[in-house]
Amino acid sequence: MISSLPLSRSNLILLHEHKFETREEIYALTPSQLARELEINQDEALKIWKTAKFGDDCMTRSVSNLSSTNSKREVSALNLWRRKARQRPIFSLCEDMDKMFGNGIRIGEVTEFCGVPGAGKTQLGMQIACTVQIPTDLHGPGGQAIYIDTEGSFMPRRAYEIAGGVCKHLRGVAAISSDEKVKLIILDSIAFHFRHGFEDNYMERNRTLTSIAQTLTKLAQSLQIAVIIMNHVTARMSASGSGSLTPALGPTWAHSCTNRVMLEYRDGRRWARILKSSSCEAKTIEYEIGSDGVRNLSPAPASTAGFGNENMDFKETSSTSSKRQRML
């Protein structure tokens, strides 16, 4: 049926006026015949002809050649499993968080981090943008990152510090060189532009958001990269009148991401909790942010109870604790 093809409204009306009803009728003609029949130019007719012949959106097919033929879209679960086993994981250098996700940041999926301001979303984003560049010689992903900053929160100086922390972790091994392939996209944040301006038109907002999510999912799946999205939180009032924090952008957006992590910041402590994931258990871990970036919680200070030395800071510096981390 023609009306279910990805054609513009004007083209659909045109086809309808010329009594075309099925796809077969369109591609039975050659593009030039079609152009003459519909009284449009050759390019336009060719686009319509291609769409009728192949069914799906020609625009998206040209973007990712991986799904250019139907047979490439289908794969057995076994091959997926094998491909997953061969993948180089993207580690965030916060060991607990990597374990929470199974084996590092999920590749091929869209992960959403939401949290109050100050929870550490941007810090985490900058850090992962650095770690994704760890070269393959050191068993890292060796890829580039695209950081989309919608709220101006990316601070180059801080990114420099964090990159320094990553290098320290690698024991100062030489220059980070990566191949040209992008392995990570970070969107910080999705919420900023969508929270206001759509008051009258939530449907429009939801549609736009869902189509953004679809595009990102497609990129993640077809190019096998990790996509990370930051989101804000908002208060939800329950029937009893008490409020709780929930991710912003509503329930429709909740379905869009494959994984969802809530970053909480209470009493000076930071927690990461999986809200939704198809492959990870619901877990909560604690982490901390030091000068080198986001790391596991340092071990508790050695017991000084008998000495009254509360003022002494036994907390290990990030560099020593990062030496403890397993080498990538």
Binding site: S4, G55, N201, T217, H255, S256, S278
Partner: protein
Amino acid sequence: MDSLPGQCKSTVQRTWKSTRLHLDSKLKDDNKENGGGVMNIPFRVKKRKAQDFGRTITLLSSVDEEKNAEVLSNAEVLDKDIGAFHENVLSVLFPRLDELMGGGIFSGEVLELVGESAVGKTQMCLMIAARLVAYTNSYVAYIDTSSSFAPNRVQQIYQDAAQHVLRVQTSQSPQNWAGDGLDPKPKDFKIAFRQIRVFKVSNAFELNTVLEEIRKGLSQDKKYDNLQMIIIDSLSAVLSPHLGGNEYQGFALMSETSRAIKHIVHKHNIAAITTSHTVSNRVDGLKPALGWNERIVLEVFILILLCSR
């Protein structure tokens, strides 16, 4: 053949209905405690005899002699038609859920799982797929629109399901298996994984293309001979952006998809499972994202999953 009298539809056991089920968010734990010895035989092949069907029609029309003869003759024709038609019932879940669905998941029927975010829709789909390939040689087509098919997780679920089979087996003698062609010994997951064909789609147009491809493969090329189930996770993710507002193709796309699914399911006696998310507002409360219109098009059996937090 004249169309059947209207009453017959309601006497058949499977009817369109929607049920509400209160599910705890910890699906896996619940299943574990019900799994083991309590779980029913995993796969039953139920051949619905045409005579049963005919008998039911006779009972209804015993009032009017003339009508009776007419209906009986129709029933005979029907007998031949559906004599070869048997329904497969896949009981893959824990007993309470099976009971709710009248025995399990039926072939030739569409089951829709509707629920809020993170309630367990994807997990249920993965579990059903894992069990089907664990116990049979059937193929499953898993159409994944939101990267929810995670191979490691499915491996985990599969190995768990395989353990349950062993536990049930040791407690029951082989004669209790009511299926033919069943392989009681669970196979290695790598072999089973070959039976799950994953299709990655990211928009409604691709979904329709894939469904068309499956339809062609089934009827013309015989490519998908052993296909017993299609899972679409999630249907609403690809269709909802096209509904409402200035979108001009929403209903066309939705009916095209429904038509394609229905065709495959009815013609080839395949079971289909789709998932859909919910939207809520203060006026209507919780409702399926695709609205109630589609239900009329599709004749689905709906399972609404709620989560208590």
